[in-house]
Symmetry: D2
């Protein structure tokens, strides 16, 4: 059994990691690290963990971690992991970063995050942990850059279509909808119930920091730089994320031919479900689970393809995929600790 | 003071008409007609109307209506109004139909609604009641075909852009999000709270009956037949409708130049608000009101224009616009009875 | 037409006052005062007011107010109004305070609000503005202490029953449920959507500052000091407030006899609706309106009376009742500017 | 490994049983029985089960069940189980009924359910499966009558207090709030999103069929017949149930003394959590889990005790408790298959 620690103990990412690791057979969570709340019980912030998690939160002690931990999950705000992970370079500790610190080139990171990037050397070692696409690379990685929630949903649908040369790489539009938990635990007017309930709120149109992340990894499969139009909307629900993606079909395709293609592309993957013709993903259909559901429709009137993908932003879009990556890195069954069914209704 | 009747007394469209007409200075609601509940109190179905509406619902009596009524609102399911409105051809009764019966050509109606269309002669007389665009035609109309909720939001944003030759008419994508009240009062799995809450549900992708309505009226301004890709999503809120529209910019434009253009286009219109750069419409920002809010963003990286429009589907998308049309037809102040502020929060 | 100012310009109470006053025939809102945002457009905080309210917010200038204003609404946090209202003592300005500053005796205020109370002299002049009960006193008041949202709903149901000696005054239990807007615009974990959605959260059990307010005015009708058990719960909705009240019946009563009694008690009141047997109030049934709906059930098995009252916390529970009080004070039709129908659905 | 079947395959109770049994180490779900949908894939009704549950639903064949099944879960509407369970009398099949058919005496059942009751002989054999209270009886039972959702929450809080003679048994008031999933999958106006969202709806006041169930089992501990006042409210959330219970304290108690007492009462129980002073249960704090959280407050001003209990109505209030009962009957670890943490946020 391997020992794991989580840094960033009281954010939603950490809380979801704690929930999921509870039933993992090969990972024992031995440390929950929170600088701001070291020494406190987790249940003082999260009463729902009373009785279950009795461990106190600890402050960060890198030397102790190096000695006692096998897997390190970093669920920290942007700009933190890049300062911590380099310390583990010469150790066998597997680092999985749920923040954006290792997802972009240094230049892109400076531009979109407005912060100093990690060193090129460490950046180079980080593998983009889109588990169902980059599986082979993940197997031998020591640093995983866990994808953002929007890129997970968007790329899971886009990459196969680009890879198979099914769509024009120019003119791709991604219309994303997310539940409020995607904005994290922080307080702002946009997370205030009275603002958000009974509301759809577009935000950061064309300016979201997930744009370069989507473009970077989609471009790898396009064989050239592609650009996407990406728009995000807050919808009044806690969990759930959907991307509705529009692209021009290259050759003549039908809904059935696209679905067959996707089905084959993912046939060995446990967590991507291609839905039958006429059925589209819903965010509730994946709630609390690690699934990414994908549906498609070819509009023959306009030669337009509509692909819809849905995930739980906190599971497949964060903590669940992080654990899937840990499983892959350690040669365990990919589904270990993640076998649960969506919570419905 | 003119006398009005509503046919289709217990649907959401009728209920909203009743709410709005209550404070109208020139229209007196004298008859609420419901075939299925004639003789009953409206408050037996809608307790929130107790004390306020004490009139009993009546059965349909065409001869009586012709004699006693000046304005007839039809808030009936598809296929009903087309059989009623012809009876009023030789009268001075102004007919405003909130259903889809007069929005399409006969051929389109047969195809998309699967029903026998109204006669060509009556269809021809019907004026499409998109109040802020077809204002002049509405002034002299005797039959108004009140637009669908999605077409209202979509066309209010699209028509100026097409009219001013700002966008390519090929490749327009409309991603629509609607609250559940848009599905009406009928019971179905998709209106069940447990299915819909904490969920985003795409439906009728590429097959919604509002598609030909959008294309028909957008085409008038394009000077040729255009086609749009149109996708609808149910989001977990009661009221509110948003269209996020994607199109390729024709010439070099900035966000500011597009917003200025729209601002001028609508400068004399009371109910279309063009939001300043960086601010986007929200459904809550128009809730309960007759406004259509529009925002825009030009993504210079992709030469893509994103336009967002938001309305209350039951007001501007149905009952409110119907009353605005009645105001225009009768030469009253366009805002009469519709001056209220959005309900926020 | 009288001129009004609102102090506390950007809270929910003020925003709702602005919404409602917009259609008032005798009150013209000429000043919106906000110390923290003086000089700014209201629409910069509330885009839904774009185009509608173009007046800039102003800083507080008491001398100017005394000269230019007839009615002053104070929608300020606890502890502010008590320092402002005394300045208007020698003027004819009618002051209506929506905060808790004038609702309790000085002693109670110190105990429950933990602040220095207003002077006894000014406290004495303040009339408790429970419009449908204290109508006569309000007519001649110069200072109105507008009731809290919970006391409005609770007392509207309780006072008639105590006044008519229908219930035991010992053992009254009030179980209250409120939408999140009751917590105001401030940011806290309890107003974060992700915490509050899909949740019922009890809070301040037995310790809510509205307890002494309920007890004080109920005691007036009991002829002796009574105490109530009062429990509040946040439910995942924006607006709406319900009190479910339990009391022991004194003499033999039926549901019908209690409803008849209440019906008579309120027969001349426009805004209290007694629902027929078997129908209970819902918060949606009064949403956006100034109604207080009341239903009752006598459980003959246990000799227990259940009375349910529902209001919109921002209308009848705050801004609507404040305007109703202004109407009463000025001898206008009590319903002026408040005639609108609940927004349903 | 024991084999289990579920009858009533497409209701929410069954779907939740399927979700939970998926990870149970000693129970294999081998049959899902649905008369109305026999032969169909479960995923045709519930797309979220695609890929996961590929078993087709079957029609009811009693003889086959007797031969092949060890544990039978009945998640059927009232009136069905009473006709099926008697067939298993002479077998070793353990029957766990989630409906109300075996919860009351024959006479009570006739009165409150308006149906013919099960035979006295079979009724007598049924053990009330309130797992944390009747643990000993459950161990040897062959028929379990799984409690209703409201009685589970109400009795878990009430029984210890009655058992320890802490409260007056006269004058107990239970104010219950439930999410909409408690109303099941059926379509009605009360489950329509537009009716229920942004609403609190009281229903069946004093007339709910769970009243005699609460009274029957509370009376056992009171040593005499007691009656409760019980009021239910629908709140706009999918899952979750809370009972706020009011009772008069018998002797002098403080919040701390009551909490200590409850803590001791349940000290050996895994699924009842007594929260510390000042913290109250929330429905989200138990969502998706089998916990029953309890908090208390002694209002020394009124000598009134407020106890609050919260459960997930579909887990502890239905499927989770059914599995806990199966665990107890079979001598397995009580928590088997139920060890998961609440889903938060």
């Amino acid at each position: 059994m391997k020992k794991a620690a989580i840094i960033g103990g009281t954010g939603y990412g950490a809380i979801e990691l704690i929930r999921l690791l509870q039933s993992h057979k090969e990972i024992q969570l031995t440390k929950i690290i929170s600088q701001s709340q070291a020494g406190e019980d987790l249940s003082s912030t999260y009463p729902h963990l009373s009785v279950i998690i009795t461990k106190k939160m600890e402050s960060l002690d890198l030397e102790e971690l190096k000695k006692e931990i096998d897997i390190l999950f970093l669920a920290t705000p942007a700009g933190v992991a890049k300062n911590i992970i380099p310390s583990f370079q010469d150790t066998s500790v597997q680092c999985i970063d749920l923040s954006g610190d290792f997802r972009l080139t240094g230049e892109e990171y400076s531009e979109w995050y407005g912060k100093e990037p990690a060193s090129a050397e460490v950046l180079e070692k980080a593998v983009f942990g889109l588990s169902d696409i980059f599986t082979e690379d993940i197997k031998t990685a020591s640093i995983i850059s866990n994808p953002g929630c929007f890129p997970t949903a968007a790329l899971s649908a886009l990459i196969p279509l680009i890879d198979g040369d099914k769509i024009q790489t120019k003119g791709i539009r991604i219309d994303a909808k997310t539940g409020i938990s995607g904005a994290g635990k922080g307080l702002s007017e946009k997370t205030h119930f009275s603002t958000t309930n009974e509301n759809v709120i577009p935000y950061k149109i064309g300016q979201h920091q997930h744009i370069p992340e989507i473009e970077r990894y989609a471009s790898k499969f396009a064989g050239k730089d592609l650009k996407v139009s990406f728009t995000t909307h807050l919808v009044p629900m806690t969990r759930g994320l959907m991307c509705t993606i529009y692209a021009d079909i290259k050759q003549r395709e039908t809904t059935a031919s696209i679905l067959n293609y996707l089905e084959e592309y993912y046939q060995e993957k446990s967590f991507v479900r291609i839905l039958p013709e006429g059925i589209f993903p819903t965010t509730k259909g994946v709630a609390g689970s690690n699934f990414c559901d994908i549906g498609a429709y070819v509009d023959e009137r306009t030669n337009n393809l509509v692909v819809v993908s849905a995930i739980d932003n906190l599971v497949k879009g964060a903590a669940g995929q992080a654990i899937q990556n840990a499983n892959i890195m350690n040669g365990w069954e990919e589904t270990m600790g993640l076998e649960f069914i969506p919570v419905f209704p």
